[in-house]
Amino acid sequence: MSDTGSDPGPAKKLPPVFLERQSYRRRRLLDAARLLPVLGALLFAVPLLWPQGGAAGTPSTSAAIRYIFIVWGLLILCTLLFGLLTRGWSGPADPVGPGAEATEPAPVGR
């Protein structure tokens, strides 16, 4: 019909509903990166739930050390992995080259 093809203006501005597989993966990866600090905070708060002060089943400090340092190490690994996967990205939208600072800042064309 005429109204599908005649007015591409607003349709162009809207982001597409479906992304290509690669962009989709990329976005989910960013979601994961956003979630990581939250997850880390939650995991680091878990020891607060343990029984303490001599109550039955109080874990030893060495167990706590093991737990915290293992979580810590895993978080570092995840970040490393994320860094490797996002190598070559500079931002969600604008690619800023490596030598962007060496040259003059791009003139603002507005």
């Binding site: 020891p47 607060l48 303490q52």
Partner: protein, 892 residues
């Protein structure tokens, strides 16, 4: 004694090494060869100034007192780093695109380049960091003292040592932090030295840790067993402190001026964050890995009552490991010096840019370009600031007596610096954040922090015991450590809770209730949407700035060579041939950014503003611009109206001209026609009169026939001349009208009968007599003349096989309308506009008259106060005659 001398030697040697490294790095960076200086590894290592002597010595003491709680100090930054993609990356991008020089500059820049805000942040930072610097001095002094005690040196004066340590650090910071004024405010020398120190302290702590775990305890399993058997062997932690300190560490990591310096200001490449994001948490993990084992073994091995803060140093010493102790000492020394140097540098930048320079500039009063060498003033201001900050730290140390546990001083400092967090985060993520909100939040947070934490913790003398116990003036709910009657909280938790909650509330409320200035809103958009447009602020409008003035001012700030290079580059960029670039807005904007690297955003803005003539964007400017554009729009709309009017006039003129041309053509045509019309009868009259005169043999019948012809032709001539005369009389207004009242139907009857009389009678006239009973007051003879003309026109020109003329009368109020519509092909469109002109004839080949009939009709109708016009849109020719009437319909 040998060991003591050795220690002093090693110490001096180490400092000398740092000098050499820093100097070499500066040289390398200047020649542009040291690309490795800008590697992610150096960046990551430079971040380790987060781990100060507080970490190196204090963490072990902390662990010995409170178990695993110390780890929260490092978990906070870990969380920040692993969330780098959406947090730190934005901060770094903003810092780089706006060329900010410090956290105060960032906050000021975000909230409309407000210097008041910068002053607030600077003051807060100086007050918050001073205890921290004192803490570093204290730890160095303590470590010296331990060696002195070990050696049994007499005459050891703590004050002297502290003084010389402070002075030495100040000299180092001055030498490398204020050697040059760089537009980007980067210090490769210092950063490289800090990176080296990071390695030293990590190696030292790991060495002590390895020695403790494998040398003293006999392995990992044994160490863990030993930990479980120790006084801190059972899992015990205060949940609120755990969460609060993690939060404080997050906040401090982002807001500490020295962290901001190395993370944002010294950042060379945004992508270094990618490496630092995992490498720095790894560094933190390694630093804190052996803390608990050292603490546990220290508690076990060392005599009761020894200071756990110094276990890292005293443990190897007690075991006779002099070399390890020396390494450990160097590690502690490294952590203290790097922190103090960078913190002093960062603070001095803030103090000189936001406190000294604005005061100095306003004190000068005159234009910055014609005053003295600003460059020297800035450097001097920074050097004095560093000395003053070190002096403050020194005096704080002397005043407090150095007795408080290291960890608590550090936390007080963190809590103070954390007050910047709401303004910072709000500024980065919320466009609605305003200057008033930021000021309100900072003030409330700062006051609460002072009142609930810093003053009570500074000991007796500042707040009396009475105030602490009963509250000021006996108001119980205002007790510094139990605000609003909430008791039993840990002092840190209590202070952080209230100060952060009320800070954030004030920030939010202030932002909601105030209205930001245009510059603030502009900056807000630039900060929050930094990834959409990483461009600088557009502060300068069209200018009257003199490039020469700008050049002189820039020389004074950046130095002659740098300024000339900058201006050359700009001129080349603009494609001009001269040495000086045009003061375009873009150039001014870049220049402002360059200058802001040296004197801060607000001061640079003010200085360019002085030269450009204060044309920074103010509300007035925006209003003026709006006014101007409104005027322009009005003017252009006026022009449009005028031009439309002109176009209309031109069109009318063109129409008139066309008409005139047409009329002239008609006149020409008529003249030839009329001469033809006149000549035809004249020719026959002349011919027949000549025959009558010359031919004597004519019969009587012939004579009478020829005389008749002459008579007829003369009549025809007379009729033509009568018509012309009639028209001329009508046009000249000399006609006398015989006005009387009568029925329209009578006039029509008369007209139709006289028009159709003598004709072939083919034309059928249709009438509606009922509607014709209208009484009109007019000249009935003249009106009949019009009707006759119209009817005989139809009779002559209607080309239908069965010609019909419909005459319809309508009474419309005070007018009566008579339509004459025939069923022929009508008048062609191009002829419609001229049918009423004199001499106009539609069908020249059917020439019956001279083309005067309709012109006479029009003149008559005008005299009668009515009009006649052609009705387009009908199949046949249609004329409408309308005339005024006071007529009343006659009752039947």
């Amino acid at each position: 004694m040998a060991s003591f001398n050795l220690m002093v030697l090693v110490c001096l040697g180490y400092v000398a090494l740092l000098f050499i490294v820093a100097f070499a790095a500066d040289r390398l960076a200047a020649t542009g060869r040291g690309t490795w200086l800008r590697s992610p590894v150096i960046y990551t290592l430079s971040m380790s100034i987060y781990c100060t002597a507080w970490t190196f010595y204090g963490a072990v003491g902390y662990a010995a007192r409170s178990g695993l709680e110390y780890v929260t100090i490092y978990l906070g930054p870990t969380l920040v780093m692993i969330g780098w993609w959406w947090g730190l990356r934005k901060l770094v991008r903003v810092g780089r695109s706006q060329r900010v020089t410090s956290i105060a500059d960032l906050i000021s820049s975000r909230y409309g380049k407000s210097n008041l805000l910068a002053i607030c942040v600077t003051t807060l930072a100086v007050i918050g960091i001073t205890p921290y610097i004192a803490l570093q001095l204290q730890s160095i002094t303590h470590s010296f003292a331990i060696f002195f005690a070990e050696e049994g040196v007499s005459g050891y004066g703590e004050a002297t040592v502290v003084f010389w340590v402070a002075a030495g650090l100040a000299v180092f910071a001055i030498l490398f932090g204020t050697r040059n004024l760089d537009a980007n405010e980067r210090h490769h020398g210092v950063v490289t030295a800090v990176a080296l120190e990071a390695v030293v302290k990590l190696v030292a702590l790991l060495a002590v840790g390895v020695f403790v775990v494998w040398g003293l305890s006999g392995g990992v399993a044994e160490t863990l067993a030993r930990i479980d058997a120790s006084p801190i062997g059972e899992w015990q932690v205060n949940g609120s402190r755990w969460a609060t300190i993690t939060f404080l560490a997050v906040a401090a990591f982002l807001c500490l001026p020295r962290m901001f310096q190395v993370m944002v200001v010294e950042n060379d490449d945004e992508r270094h964050l990618r490496t630092a994001a995992w490498a720095f948490p790894l560094y933190l993990l390694l630093i804190s890995l052996f803390v608990v084992p050292i603490a546990v073994v220290g508690l076990d091995v060392m005599p009761a009552g020894s200071n756990p803060d110094m276990f890292v140093l005293t443990l190897p010493l007690s075991q006779g490991k002099e070399a390890l102790a020396m390494l450990s000492f160097l590690g502690g020394f490294s952590s203290a010096t790097s922190m103090v140097i960078v913190a002093a540098m960062a603070l001095s930048t803030m103090v000189s840019n936001h406190l000294v320079m604005p005061i100095w500039l306003s004190a000068r009063g005159d234009r910055a370009s014609v005053s003295g060498d600003v460059r020297k003033v800035i450097l001097l201001a920074r050097r004095i600031s560093i000395a003053a900050i070190m002096g403050l730290g020194y005096f704080y140390f002397r005043l407090s007596g150095g007795g408080t546990a290291l960890a608590s001083i550090g936390l007080i400092s963190f809590a103070g610096i954390a007050q910047i967090l709401p303004a910072l985060m709000g500024g980065l993520f919320w466009r609605g954040a305003t200057r008033i909100g930021a000021l309100a939040g900072l003030t409330v947070g700062f006051v609460l922090w002072l009142y609930t934490l810093l003053l009570p913790q500074m000991g007796a003398g500042i707040l009396s015991q009475g105030v602490l116990a009963q509250g000021p003036f006996g108001i119980g709910w205002l007790r510094p450590e139990a605000l609003f009657g909430i008791e039993g909280l840990d002092p840190i938790v209590h202070s952080v809770l209230w100060s952060m909650v009320l800070n954030a509330t004030a920030f939010f409320a202030g932002s909601m209730l105030s209205f930001p200035s245009p510059l603030e809103r502009l900056q807000g958009a630039q900060f929050v949407n930094v990834f959409d447009h990483s461009a600088g602020p557009r502060g300068w409008t069209g200018s009257v700035a003199q490039s020469e003035d700008l050049m002189i001012m820039t020389q004074r700030i950046l130095g002659a060579r740098e300024a000339q290079a900058l201006f050359h580059r700009e001129a080349a960029l603009q494609g001009g041939r001269g040495h000086l670039p045009e003061p375009t807005p873009l150039f001014l904007e870049r220049l402002e950014r360059e200058l802001s690297g040296s004197v801060g955003a607000a001061a640079a803005h003010a200085m360019i503003g002085q030269i450009v003539g204060g044309s920074s964007v103010s509300v007035e400017d925006l209003l003026a611009v709006a006014d101007e554009s409104a005027q322009l729009m009005e003017y252009s709309s006026q022009l449009e109206v005028k031009s439309a009017e002109l176009a209309r006039t031109a069109r009318k003129l063109r129409e008139a001209n066309d008409k005139l041309t047409q009329i002239s053509l008609q006149k020409d045509a008529f003249l030839s026609q009329i001469s033809h019309e006149l000549r035809t009868p004249m020719t026959s009259i002349r011919a027949f009169s000549e025959i009558l005169r010359d031919d004597d043999g004519l019969s009587l019948r012939e004579k009478s026939r020829y005389a008749n012809i002459i008579h007829d032709e003369a009549l025809r001539l007379t009729r033509l001349l009568n018509d012309l005369l009639d028209l001329s009389v009508l046009e000249n207004g000399q006609v006398s009208l015989n006005m009387r009242s009568g029925l329209l139907s009578d006039v029509l009857d008369r007209a139709i009968s006289s028009a159709l009389a003598g004709a072939e009678g083919a034309l059928v006239v249709r009438r509606r007599r009922l509607s014709e009973t209208v009484r009109v007051t007019t000249d009935q003879d003249r009106l009949a003349q019009v009707f006759i003309n119209l009817i005989s026109n139809a009779q002559k020109y209607c080309d239908a096989p069965h010609p019909e003329l419909t005459v319809s009368v309508h009474d419309v109020g005070d007018q009566v309308v008579v339509d004459f519509i025939d069923n022929g092909s009508g008048i062609p469109v191009e002829a419609q506009s001229t049918v009423f002109e004199k001499f106009a004839r539609v069908h020249a080949e059917k020439a019956g008259g001279a083309g005067l009939g309709l012109a006479i009709c029009r003149e008559i109708m005008q005299r009668l106060g009515g009009e006649i016009h052609y009705l387009p849109g009908h199949a046949g020719a249609a004329f409408r005659v309308s005339l005024p009437t006071e007529a009343r319909p006659i009752p039947e």
